[in-house]
Symmetry: C2
Subunit: 426 residues, 2 copies
């Protein structure tokens, strides 16, 4: 495989691309309620303390901790219950020495109290009946009854202090964060209902080839249906971009140039899935060089599948030429296009969905190129085995049956069965 | 923590729920182009062979393998190139003994040929000039030139046979498959542009509490903003459902009943995030029991955080009462509501996004309950450590800083630092 020796490795190719690429993250307003999986374009700080009042973390009685010092089951502290703190409203009750107020989980601890004792550690000592759930029976006036507290309560116990969760001005989420469900909650908790999110890059996808027809069309002899437009659109969405699709480009320079120009003007990233023969690759490279400067940066990478790959920058916009073969196309997209989209989002790296598995058979490889091997996973005796999925017929048999990929390094001559490999799951 | 001893474990609770739940997967038409992450409701078989014609996997010459038997560099086989097979069209050329036809990757192998030799293994032996890319120069007539083939070519070499990828009638994707980018490609490749997808369950989310106000509202004294509606909506989307949201329910039986009834009629699953105090939990249980039979199945689970959980089925529809605390709420949602949504989708289990990490500090636990510990991840000397994130102030400090969760089993009294634990990532 000397053909690979002249080519740049994936790392070298990416370095050349990065040296020339100056991504600019553009922000746009986004409702937090619609913010799942969007990327923050700016740091977000808390506009106020959270919580904004002292909150009880339990159902119990707010009181002064000092009133319980030294309390035991044999020598309990006695407190007069003088009222109930309502949920969601200010209580005017002030707790004085020897007094207690019934509070609910999440409720406000009244002024004067500095701790809450759980219902479970109290006994009713006198006064009107309690409801079944420990609640004050309706109609009961206050002071209503006394409670016994059978253990000492520490100051601040079962309370969240003002600003204990977050202080006014504190950074709560940093730019580049890809928003998870709980991140939306954190923003809303401090009243932030709109954020500046990174504008989602629009990624133009152009399938090319005289033999390619739209999927709804019945292919004639020698024709095949376009699938790259749709698999790549789905991968663009997964990466955080917005796919733009175009009619299938024929293998003629002028027609391809015109379609690529339209795509280039509408999109932030252009992906051409090239006709795969040698001559058609030249067609794609010519088209890309016509879009802007510097044009093609890398033509061909030492990666299998995916050798006939083009990385380009045209007047600052990333342009990629991907092989037409669906397996190669997906492999190269994940290697180069997904990271480019993430750079345009300013997204911090995400932990990849990986899994360790034991290789079920020998995987031969040629030194000088990085092989990406698709595998399906099987459990045997509680261990996960990675079964390589090979074959010429690459669509159903490789793509659909496999669950992920592992790389064979450039300098490896193969990996023996039984080796533990790290699979990146689809 | 004897309070937990009377409660059902998560597994027991789920078993009780499953014993009563008879999920029905309902199908609906869905364009394949819009099918990413949708679940197939029916098996899909290939309507025809793929490929539908013999395809070349390389740029080269289609010929009869027998013509090259015994060929060597010193004693090559000579073949007359009689034409070029066009891409995307039927060629009328028939390859006879001693003849060859130029073919491109993905192109149709002409009749009479049974193998393709790569361009790289041929030399031009005579006739008009070849183009730079090895293509036949324009204007060149056929028979144009001869090629030398310096090695024997096996029958079928570099060809994909008709039906080699998939046979007509073969199962290509099974019901329950959650569609990945490449699965969309496989469907389109055989001309399937619409599928029967599982109808996405509509999941009603009702936040409850007199102290809860909408996020855009300025909370008064003792009030907090609603966040569960939004974190749970995002989790519903992640699980494959469609969230339906409602106004915040007050802690009054009639008002809660009315809102829950409306939600119950519109949705396939109802989630109430209950006021968290003891009395309010009774309110929720009463409301649920009023919706249908059998009503509440499980009230309280031996799980922390999330003890005050309700699992119910009302006239066949799942209804859940979740704790109001955001950390508990998310934990219980992932334990019970996500699996219920997946059952309604008929979705096959997905490999969870998990990661092995070494515990950075001792985690105490009480036997008799399952603890779910939130952690952030740190890399030290190339190893990933899980740092438990504890604290009363649970929103920013626990939810936002953490990256995942690991369970401490029911019978454990704690896990020592240094133990390797399996983190489920958010």
């Amino acid at each position: 495989m000397t053909e690979f020796l002249k080519l740049r490795t994936a790392e070298e190719a990416w370095a050349v691309f990065l040296n020339n690429f100056k991504p600019v993250v553009r922000g746009e307003g986004c409702r937090v309620a619609d913010g799942l999986d969007r990327t923050l374009a700016e740091d977000v700080c808390a506009p106020h303390d959270l919580p904004a009042f002292v909150r009880s973390t339990v159902d119990g009685y707010a009181m002064r901790a000092a009133d319980t010092f030294g309390a035991t089951a044999g020598m309990p502290a006695y407190l007069d219950v003088i009222g109930e703190a309502p949920m969601g409203a200010l209580t005017k009750i002030i707790v004085d020495v020897g007094q207690a107020v019934l509070v609910h989980t999440g409720g406000m601890v009244p002024a004067g109290a500095d701790a809450v004792v759980m219902l479970e550690y109290t006994n009713r000592a006198g006064g009107p009946l309690l409801g079944a759930a420990g609640q004050v029976a309706s109609g009961g006036g206050f002071p209503a009854f006394s409670i016994e507290v059978s253990r000492p309560v520490a100051g601040g116990e079962n309370c969240i202090q003002i600003g204990e969760d977050v202080r006014a001005g504190q950074l709560i989420l940093e730019a580049g964060r890809i928003l998870r469900p709980q991140d939306l909650g954190a923003l809303l908790a401090v009243g932030i209902v709109e954020i500046v999110a990174a504008r989602q890059p629009r990624v133009a996808i152009l399938s090319q080839g005289d033999e390619v027809v739209a999927p709804e069309q019945e292919p004639g002899p020698g024709q095949v249906r376009d699938i790259n437009t749709y698999t790549l659109s789905a991968l663009v969405r997964r990466a955080g971009g917005i796919p733009l699709t175009y009619p299938i480009a024929p293998d003629r320079q002028e027609a391809l140039d015109a379609l690529a120009r339209a795509a280039f003007e509408q999109a932030d990233v252009v992906v051409l899935t090239a006709g795969s023969s040698v001559s058609y690759r030249d067609l794609t490279a010519n088209t890309i060089n016509g879009l802007g400067k510097p044009g093609v940066l890398v033509h061909g990478v030492a990666v299998r599948p995916g050798k006939p790959t083009i990385l380009a920058l045209c007047d600052g916009k990333p342009v990629f030429g991907l092989p037409g073969n669906p397996v190669s196309c997906i492999n190269i997209f994940q290697l180069f296009v997904t990271p480019a989209i993430r750079l345009l989002l300013g997204a911090r790296p995400r932990r990849p969905h990986i899994l360790q598995a034991r290789l079920a058979r020998n995987v031969p490889a040629a030194a000088g190129r990085a092989d990406f091997v698709r595998v399906k996973l099987e459990e045997r005796d509680g261990e996960i085995w990675a079964v390589p999925v090979f074959g010429k017929s690459n669509l159903i048999n490789i793509l659909v049956r496999s669950e992920g990929t592992f790389p064979v390094p450039l300098d490896s001559n193969g990996i023996p069965a039984g080796t533990v490999v790290t699979i990146t799951l689809d």
